[in-house]
């Protein structure tokens, strides 16, 4: 048994088998079930430890060699895999309710496997290739054979692809830095290349204009999946870089750059969200702000920042899953997701409207909701470092709250004497109901997921210790 085979090769192969299947429910159950099974195995079955099951001795090796390169899943990375596949299962189980299962389940599984491979591959230079493969596979997920791809999809492809040469160049330069650590010019060049690569990958301001465009023209549930998976894995990949290179870790400029980038994304994401008149675009700016929060967490003392980063991940996954499913349902009942057409939708799709509102509030750190605990800890940590920076974070939060109030005003503003006529299906109500309960559960009792998160910082050698 081999860890990369279990968590990379097997899901990808299984996904290929699912490709011809067209039954929404079967796909949803099979994809979701597999993701949950992989998450449970990752959480409970140790890697590189021999286990006796009756007469059988079972050991999961951590390494798989392919063409002279290695895919290595360290024993400490089990909880991370559990988190990734656990969160992916939210989308796969919700696929039936969003009626996108034939696309999202097989391709989503392959993309998830490729993103896991990007963390596991050694040397890390090849991670860029896995990420690019995932991006390329996202295109058939986002587009249809019957209509030309929109500008958002094209920009998504351009910006994500532009990241590749920078990451590859950075990798090449970093080899030189390792050989001669005293060469400051080389270190600066490699840091710049790395920074630009991650700026494109994470859609850091001003490189994020494809995100709202994508949300406007693509199926929200699928776009939500990609906007959760790609930045989440990229951030962890980036944290791995910081952990690996001591000169990068100890650089004061890195903290300034991370803090500035994070704040810029939170502030611009929040403020732009406040002025949008399209529910999908509000989600896009919410996603941008969420990425900003994660980058900001990396700028803190790693003993605080890394646990906060891992606390942000499940909250982001759940919020985005609820948000994108809600938008998909609303899109079923309105022509577009513009405010004009979404007026009074609360009376037609109460669960979806509630989902949108709660997900927006969760992103805006509203107490009781999933996003609150991590953002409270982040805001406090930031205040200790700089009250001015905390004030800017507050500005971003205010912007996100305004967008939530505006959405609420629009969805609740029905014509006079319009009766309540819910048109959501039972499955949609069930999935959204569970999601909303989850949002409150994570917000009121964040300790419930500590079992999964507690050991996560151990995947880094230096960070979080």
């Amino acid at each position: 048994m081999n860890a990369p085979i279990i968590w990379i090769v097997f899901p990808a192969a299984f996904a290929i088998l699912l490709l011809p299947l067209r039954n929404q429910r079967a796909l949803s159950i099979l994809g979701g079930g597999l993701a949950v099974a992989l998450a449970l195995i990752a959480q409970f079955v140790p890697i590189e430890v021999a286990m006796l099951i009756g007469p059988l001795s079972l050991k999961i090796d951590s390494t798989l060699s392919v063409l002279g390169r290695a895919l290595i899943i360290q024993p400490t990375e089990g909880p991370l895999l559990a988190l990734i596949y656990g969160a992916a299962s939210l989308w796969f189980f919700g696929a039936e309710a969003s009626k996108t299962a034939p696309r999202i389940v097989p391709l989503g599984l392959i993309i998830t496997a490729l993103m896991v491979a990007s963390i596991a591959v050694q040397p890390f230079l090849f991670a860029a290739l896995f990420i690019e493969m995932a991006v390329l596979l996202s295109i058939p997920l986002l587009t249809s054979l019957y209509s030309p791809p929109g500008r958002g999809v094209i920009r998504f492809l351009i910006y994500q692809t532009l990241a590749m040469p920078f990451i590859l160049l950075a990798g090449w330069l970093l080899v030189g830095v390792e050989a001669s650590p005293g060469d400051l010019a080389l270190a600066a060049q490699s840091a710049t290349m790395l920074g630009l690569g991650f700026a494109f990958l994470l859609a850091i301001f001003p490189l994020y204009n494809w995100v709202p465009m994508l949300m406007e023209e693509s199926p929200p549930f699928i776009a939500g999946f990609l906007l959760w998976l790609l930045p989440t894995i990229t951030i962890i990949f980036g944290a791995g870089f910081i952990d690996h290179y001591s000169w990068l870790r100890s650089s004061p400029q890195l903290i300034v750059a991370l803090r500035s980038a994070g704040l810029l994304m939170i502030v611009t994401g929040g403020l732009f969200a406040a002025f949008q008149r399209h529910l999908g675009r509000i989600m896009a700016y919410g996603v941008i702000a969420e990425t900003g929060f994660a980058i900001l967490a990396l700028s803190l003392d790693s003993r605080l920042g890394i646990p906060i980063l891992f606390l942000l991940i499940p909250a982001r996954a759940l919020s985005l899953a609820v948000w994108s499913l809600s938008l998909t349902i609303i899109k079923e009942h309105t022509e577009t997701m513009r405010f004009r057409e979404s007026r009074g939708i609360l009376r037609i799709a109460p669960f979806a409207a509630t989902g949108i509102l709660l997900a927006t509030l969760s992103t805006a750190a509203f107490p009781l909701l999933a996003g609150f605990p991590a953002k409270l800890a982040l805001w406090e940590g930031l205040s200790r470092a700089s009250l001015t920076a905390a004030l800017w974070m507050g500005v971003g939060i205010v912007g996100l709250l305004i967008s939530a109030f505006r959405s609420l005003a629009v969805v609740s503003m029905a014509e006079e004497y319009t009766s309540w006529e819910p048109r959501e299906s039972l499955m949609q109500m069930l999935m959204l109901g569970l999601g909303v309960i989850g949002l409150f559960l994570l917000g009121v009792f964040p300790q419930t997921i500590q079992f999964f998160l507690f050991n996560l910082p151990a995947m880094f050698e230096h960070l979080g210790r």
Binding site: N209, P307, S412, M413, A414
Partner: protein, 520 residues
């Protein structure tokens, strides 16, 4: 533990009403269930007295190094007084519901009981973190409850404005937490740094529930009387509780004198408008402004017990007036005794209202005393105007006998708090101001029929088109918002247009050069 019993009684009653409504829509004893539940909760609060102060800590959030505070509740004198006032109001709303035209309305009672249970939790919250969580629960509960009633799109907008206004208060409390963290201290009520004190006052003022001025059901008087009173009062009480938790001398800002003057003028405005309001329901927002300002001023003068006293008076005296709908002369006379609750005379609940600890607030006291006199005079005037009240013809016969019990409950609780159970009981206080305010209010009452300026203004719906200063403020803010929106649209169009990629790369180059310049 006893805190949980009271809260459980209220919330279980609400839950039972909800279940009964769903499973047996025609169930005839819903009112009895609500009244018995409320009464049991009311009795259970007195049991707290045997164990006070008592605290209850819920499991702390993990990881512990990220979250230094745990949700904690403390039943002390002030918390007890507030909880008792809240539950009495809730019980009175249920009891007096028998004479409302919308009787029976179990969903309304369930809503009020739920809000009261959350209100009790807010009253006993022992740290800002707990209070933030409870405030958020109250906000969500109120939002759901109000959206259920609203049909008119304009009114639903008011619901959202009210929600936004309260959330802003919560956000300011969170910001106080950040200020405290920046100074290296854990944010507790007892140890809040002086810089954070001012934010606590601001948070409380924003959540007072005054914005928007009128709740979204102006035409249905039965809703405004019972249910509306509950919403308004519970919301206000849960915000004022914060003022009672600010330790003496913990508000340190050079802006303090200006803030105190501003609050005094707000009290004057509230008092004046209340005095001249056409009836008590139209004057209710001004009652909240006036009484709330007196509470805020007490907190600014370093008198948390006084702030609690004004808060309890707001609930109990206000509740008596707003729930009285029947033209019963003897009850109206009895309500006059309720004026004692507001008088700040010795051995009344507001006896400590004028105490001042440290600092010098002489410049604000005269304005505040005049405000109190106007509030008191307005209270007496509204209580006596029973000719404008119309009896509900459809009320059950037993209802006429039961209805006064609700009002009497409020009166007795108000008088009881002057003698028993908390730090503000059996106090003489700064009685001079109380006597002056009482005499002034008598003078105002004598002058009311003689001076035209003191006569009531027309009801607000008679002149809906005339914009108030508040409407003007909204217009300015809305205009500013739209201008910023245009700017944002312009920027977005540039980045997302045909030449967006080039603009993006240009911005990127600008940012890189900016950061390179700043790097050491």
């Amino acid at each position: 533990m006893f805190i949980l019993i009271t809260v459980a009684l209220l919330s279980l009653t609400a839950f039972t009403l909800l279940i009964l409504r769903i499973l047996y829509p025609g169930f005839r004893y819903a009112w009895l269930v609500a009244a018995v539940g409320g009464l049991l909760a009311w009795i259970s609060v007195f049991v707290w007295q045997a164990f006070m102060p008592t605290s209850l800590q819920l499991p702390a959030w993990q990881p512990a190094w990220l979250f230094l505070q745990a949700p904690t509740f403390l039943a002390d004198g002030i918390g007890w007084a507030f909880s008792l006032s809240l539950i009495t109001l809730c019980l009175a709303i249920v009891i007096t519901a028998v004479v409302r035209s919308n009787f029976p309305s179990p969903m309304n009672w369930a809503s009020i009981l739920t809000l009261a249970s959350l209100g009790v939790l807010a009253s006993v919250a022992d740290n800002p973190f707990t209070l933030v969580l409870i405030w958020a629960s109250i906000d969500i509960a109120e939002l759901v409850i109000q959206l259920r009633f609203v049909d008119d799109p304009k009114l639903s907008e008011r619901v959202v404005i009210a929600f936004a206004s309260r959330v802003s208060g919560t956000l300011i409390l969170l910001w106080a937490n950040m200020v405290s963290a920046a100074s290296g201290t854990s944010f507790e009520f007892q140890s809040a740094p002086p810089q954070a004190g001012l934010f606590l006052v601001l948070a409380s003022a924003l959540r007072l529930g005054v914005f928007p001025l009128h709740l979204p059901y102006p035409s249905e008087s039965s809703l405004r009387r019972g249910f509306g009173t509950g919403l308004r009062m519970i919301s206000a009480a849960t915000s004022l509780i914060l003022l009672t938790r600010i330790p003496t001398g913990n508000i340190d800002s050079p802006l303090m004198p200006y803030l105190l003057l501003f609050v005094s003028f707000a009290a004057l405005y509230g008092g004046w408008m209340w005095l001249r309001a056409p009836d008590e329901l139209n004057g209710r927002p001004y009652w909240l402004i006036g009484m709330g300002s007196l509470a805020v001023a007490a907190a600014l003068r370093g008198n948390p017990v006084g702030a609690a006293a004004w808060g309890c008076a707001l609930l109990l005296a206000g509740g008596m007036l707003f729930l009285s709908s029947e033209p019963v002369r003897w009850l109206a006379r009895l309500t006059l005794i309720g004026a004692l609750i507001l008088s700040a005379l010795p051995l009344t609940v507001t006896a400590t209202g004028w105490n001042t600890t440290g600092g010098n607030a002489w410049y604000a006291i005269p304005f505040l005393v005049v405000s109190q006199a106007m509030l008191l005079a307005g209270f007496i005037r509204h209580a006596q105007r029973i000719t404008t009240r119309q009896s509900n013809e459809d009320q059950p016969i037993w209802g006429r006998n039961v209805y006064p019990i609700g009002i009497i409950f409020l009166l007795l609780t108000g008088l009881l708090l002057g003698f028993f159970g908390w730090d503000g009981a059996l106090q003489v206080g700064t009685w001079v101001w109380g006597i002056i305010a009482s005499l002034l209010s008598l003078g105002l009452l004598w002058l009311t029929p003689r001076l035209r300026i003191l006569n009531p203004v027309r009801a607000h719906w008679v002149r809906p088109m005339s914009p108030s200063w508040l409407d003007w403020g909204y217009q300015v803010l809305w205009g500013l918002y739209r201008q910023l929106g245009r700017l944002s649209d312009l920027f977005t169009n540039v980045l997302e247009g045909e030449s967006g990629i080039m603009w993006t790369l240009l911005f990127l180059a600008l940012f890189i050069s900016f950061f390179t310049q700043r790097a050491p």
